[in-house]
Amino acid sequence: MSRFQHIIPSGLIFAVGCWIAFVSFTQQPAEAFLFPRLIASVFVVLSGWTFGKALLGKSRVGVGINRHMILNLTPGLFIAGIYVFWAAKFFGFYTASTAAFFILFSLYDPSPHSEVKTWVRRAITTAVFMLVMYGLFSLLLKVYTPREILF
């Protein structure tokens, strides 16, 4: 794995560490920020050490990221992001979850998209799972989730 890959995350963490240190040493009241100051100091030292090691190319732990992985990940992450940050609240939990489940399942299901049987199986799996979720959270535990469309 390239040295470059290690530099980015450790650099980011080092930057976060410096920001935390800056905030905790400038904010008041001092008593409330005593503990953050302590943590920030250790944070800066440790993240600086890691960053330095990455710059020197001595970081060996971790498998890193490759192009193949990112290509596979992006569509799923994108749909999951829409689901979590927007659709769940906008359409209501059950509607959005049903849609997200079906889309994500279909997207990563290796069975051929051209057969009707595949689609039936996907629809049934989604329906069964959502029924279980409804039974557990709405009927048994009575958690009131946001509902806009349908239940």
Partner: protein, 503 residues
Amino acid sequence: MEFIYYFGDVFSPVSFALLLVGTIGGLILGATPGLSPTMAVALLIPFTFQLEAAQGLILLGAAYTSTVAGGAVSAILLKIPGAPANIATTLDGHTMAKKGDGAKALQLSFLSSAVGGVFGVLLLIFLTPLLAKWALAFGPSHLFWLAILGVTVIGSLDSSSVVKGLLSGCIGLWLATIGFDDIMGAQRFIFHPSLGGGINIIAALIGLFAIPQVLTMFAKGRQASGAEVIEVKKHSVLDATKEMLRWPRALTIGTITGSIIGLIPGVGGQIAGLVAYDQTRKFSKHREKFGTGHPEGVIAAEAANNAMVGPSLVPLLTLSIPGSPTAAVLLGGLLIHGIFPGSDLFDNHPDVAWTFINSMLIGQILMCVFGLYVAGMAARVAQVPQSIMAAVVLVLSVFGAYSVQSSMGDVYVMACLGVMMYFLERFGFSAAPLVLGLILGPIAEANFIQGSMIANATDGMGVYFLGGTLNLFLIAVVVASIAYSVWMEVRVQKLVARGEAKS
């Protein structure tokens, strides 16, 4: 021996039916990511309105017992700890499941849970007055040192690099300071309204463990079916019992550590599993196997977190002071029936008190029986195709994070932490030390501030934090723990160096 007299009450038809419902329901709730024992018990309180006091408590006691054990199911099969108590179980349990030994891991976890749990309840039955005195002996300064002891575990926990382990812990400690400071009420690092309440530990737990799992499955892409089907090995209960008895050290250390830590008010069962895991590893002859699917890891962690159940109720039952969030919820369940825990409970309502305690004892055994029964079937979860699993875990995470406090903010925090953790894991950081930091930060901070306020008004900081037998003992344990870690680290590096020289 008064408790034996009330065993009959547990086996009356209604009580026993409730015990069964509580146990089975508790296992299911515990296995659902996002439902911690505290929440499960709180959700059951309305059901007890209609029941008699003793019956209501049977339901709550059984549910408490089995949710703690049920959390191991999702920890082992999905690498999502059901509650902070089950974090240590993921470390070896999930690795075992990935190798196809899911059934064995589940059986071991239920068997050792039952051993630890029964021991804990027996402590509650026989040593309550003595234990109550111990529980009160832990003041702010002692809790502070105890939290520091937890911090020393961070560096060596589930991370291939000590510095990155410590840095992960530091990130966790910092995340814990977000939100309103609990004592002064000052606002710290609130850069989005969702963070006003701080980072909820259960939501964080789901995000840090479940979301990286989902993303890892996504990253593998559309695999042709059959490419990576895990063969789930069958494993008999008898073999699992033998296996557990092969590791008496892990079982003993787990049970004892869990009982002691469970007793201490304010620390609760959250760290019992992790501390027991770490101690067992330090004393084990197979130190290097931990984290690679070693049975000792599962046994120690699960024995500890069920052993804590009984002692965690000691301060509540004797002094009427809830020592953990779950105990606080149980207090509500008692008060609704007009029963005050403490001398009133044991003197005027012995039937309620002992039926409750007995039901936890029987509940441990029932939990084990049901757990073993489903272990074989549950282990098949490993065979569910990744495309379904990823979607299932994602939707469960969203529902779980939301239901903690009915808050969308928690869902957003969960998702952000999860994506961050996925990428950090690629570079050698890990979730377990981060969560440990998140749990220990507030304990260390609140007790330090409270202790220093008392110290400034009385004897001064030095005497308050460094004086007294218990303080000195805890400091000695902290020093020994650090020294041992360093020594092991040096020894391993020497061995590696020698190995390299030879080859």
